[in-house]
Symmetry: C2
Subunit: 427 residues, 2 copies
């Protein structure tokens, strides 16, 4: 047994270093400035061969008359997701980096049966929406945050990095091309769902980082899920099912967080609940509601001042996703509800929720995420106990939930001009 | 807050119940008898429409002259995995169950960009080998165990179940068809790698159990990895990387266990190690070596009798894979090394390994799995400390490791006639 050099935990440190490299434009060391603005200040970036480079995009347009835009309700009820006319694909190889991106007609991918993604879950994705505003304009909501998170996820799952501004440009381009037809001005207040993904495509069995990958972006219909009749009903996870763990990858948007959760979710659905409230550890810390972030609005105990608190799990132990909706709720509430309530990011347990319920201190609760947007929660079932959560006078949503949701909607659909609502010009 | 019915942990109980249903032939309630024998006693099973049914196989043969069998070394060094002439595919839908299986020329799969497997890791697989014996016969090694584990994995990841005997028949058929050409009698002592997989194919975004799936089986070359020069060198996982956790899915062969492990494995490789020794919890329990099971052979402390012990992590907390090689080592050693050593399945920590090393009690160590077979371990690096492990007089392998490996090889390649070596007749 010999003493050698001290081991550092290089994985997370290395990850952060790589993210910083990729986020910064190559001509500019100041990633700090750019990470909040993304593409909009990055026009001067010079690309090396092999970099992801949106300016190299090859465009092959579909016959615009080949497909008709379906009714929104019909499209959302479809067995298969209804995508728009086009998709973007970009292939990558370890030998030559990113190829020129292609915008082309939506259609199947050809993958060898030995492709890495089909066996080892070398895959990650993002989800964001394109909104047709009430002012007729097309908008994205803080797309720079999705692009940054996508980079973090790709690196976590050993897929290739890229400059996030280029991903933003590609997303913007797809929305610009298909927006006029698929999200027409005649449907203000509508949205489409944008799904960028990266998958490992190298046709090689064996547990190894793939040397070939594919980035692709689709644009599709998605049901509105933010107001289920009677509110969302949550069931805490069974003791033998844990979603994520410290030292795992719960904070990354990788496929591996989703498939394994389906068994418990289906069990909850069979019992009449919509989603699992994922608890962590023997303490039963509240983490996420299904694949959304989770907020409780309660009054602190009298002994602690009795003040209104909007509580959500913290990001620092990397158990939960750093949701764009979560972050926006936190930021808006801190400014616009200052004085009325405190926003508290901290670990809190299901026992605290039970206690608050017993003492009549629970005011509201909601799930927050791109898919479910801001979704009022009416009930939490935990080991034989039903915690009822007030749903306001209308029975549809508590007041604060409705207020926060309204602010977000106004930004998304252009009722309020805000830097988070990034306008995309229709082509 | 209302008191309702007691919640049971139905997930694991439900899983076991479904496995029992699927493993038993429909005409025979006694799954106990059949689960150890699999296909070989199941000939009388009657199938319902929608069951996986190997007897419905449709065969489309490839042109036998289209591809030549490459040299083994060249095939194993290939950037892409070299598969044989054929593959088997079986599609499934929630509406109509399993379709007729197809044996057809090996080639790409067509998947929509929105296919479940590409986003949510709805995927699982098995790995086993076909051996060309020194007696000229083709053999599988305990394929019933792989088929059973595959069923457990498919159900864990919310993919469709099947009767395991049918999967065994399909595997056998593919090996029978391609064995004569691709694993010829002129190459005794060679093997091919069999990879059955099930993936979720429904082209629908949204986190839900896929309503369409595809089972496919390929047969390919794989490098021999059981004797790296100087033995396998392990690096314990960095503190910020945990492979599996209690309540997770470490025991199932699902893609989600593999992709997330690549970052730490690559880091270890960059430092000159082959694999990660995955520790669990603050105690640092030894669990797996890379994607293989892990065995230590040491002398117990003098105070505990000083007897030779072959120690490996237990299955009961479901952190580790119930490896076929692991199980076979345990079973063989218990019988053939009785009196010489004790086989001990228990939790043990890296600190026990360090202590045994300090006290000179470590005798041997090896990884055990289908890919790495029985692979001698020469070193474990843990937080700045190198634990050297004896590699026998030749420096290639300890004696017990070599002895166990020899027994296994003899069964696989027909030097010993044994019920674990299941003969497949060439077609």
């Amino acid at each position: 047994m010999t003493q050698t050099s001290q081991v550092e935990d290089l994985t997370s440190a290395g990850l952060e270093h790589r993210i910083a490299e990729q986020s910064a434009p190559l001509t500019n060391g100041s990633s700090k400035t750019n990470e909040t603005n993304g593409v909009h200040t990055n026009g001067i970036a010079k690309h090396q061969p092999g970099d992801l480079d949106a300016s190299q995009l090859k465009v092959t347009l579909a016959d615009p008359n080949a497909r008709q835009v379906p009714d929104e309700a019909a499209a959302c009820a479809s067995f298969e997701t209804v995508c728009t006319d086009h998709m973007i694909t970009v292939s990558w190889s370890a030998a030559s980096g990113w190829a020129a991106p292609e915008l082309k007609p939506y259609g199947p991918l050809s993958l060898m049966p030995t492709a890495s993604v089909l066996h080892y879950a070398t895959e990650c994705f993002e989800g964001l929406k394109a909104f047709r505003g009430f002012d007729g304009k097309l908008r994205l909501f803080r797309p720079n945050l999705n692009a940054k998170r996508m980079l973090m996820s790709t690196l976590r799952i050993s897929l290739p990095g890229f400059q996030t501004a280029e991903l933003e440009k590609l997303i913007t381009k797809l929305v610009a091309v298909d927006g006029a037809k698929w999200l027409p001005k005649s449907r203000p207040g509508s949205f489409l769902y944008i799904r960028p993904s990266v998958i490992g495509t190298q046709a090689a069995l064996g547990v190894q980082a793939p040397k070939e990958a594919l980035l692709f972006i689709t644009l599709s219909f998605m049901p509105r899920m933010d107001s289920p009749p009677g509110g969302m009903r949550l069931h805490t996870n069974p003791e033998d099912m844990v979603r994520a763990w410290v030292g795992g990858f719960g904070y990354a948007k990788v496929g591996a967080n989703y498939g394994p959760s389906l068994l418990a979710t289906n069990e909850a659905k069979a019992r009449g609940f919509q989603q699992i409230l994922w608890l962590y550890g023997s303490e039963g810390y509240c983490t996420e509601a299904g694949a959304s972030n989770f907020f409780m609005l309660w009054r602190a105990k009298d002994s602690e001042g009795g003040k209104l608190q909007l509580v959500t799990a913290p990001l620092d132990d990397r158990l939960i996703l750093d949701g764009v909706t979560r972050r926006s709720v936190v930021e808006l509430a801190k400014v616009r509800l200052a004085g009325e309530l405190d926003v508290v990011e901290r670990k809190y347990t299901i026992d605290e929720v039970l206690e608050a319920s017993k003492e009549g201190r629970i005011v509201e609760a909601f799930a927050a995420g791109t898919a479910y947007f801001i979704c009022p929660i009416s009930l939490i079932h935990h080991r034989g106990v039903d915690v009822q959560i007030p749903m306001g006078k209308t029975g549809e949503s508590g007041n604060y939930t409705a207020k926060i949701k309204g602010w977000m909607k106004d930004i998304m659909y252009g009722n309020e001009q805000h830097e988070w609502g990034v306008v995309v010009n229709d082509e």
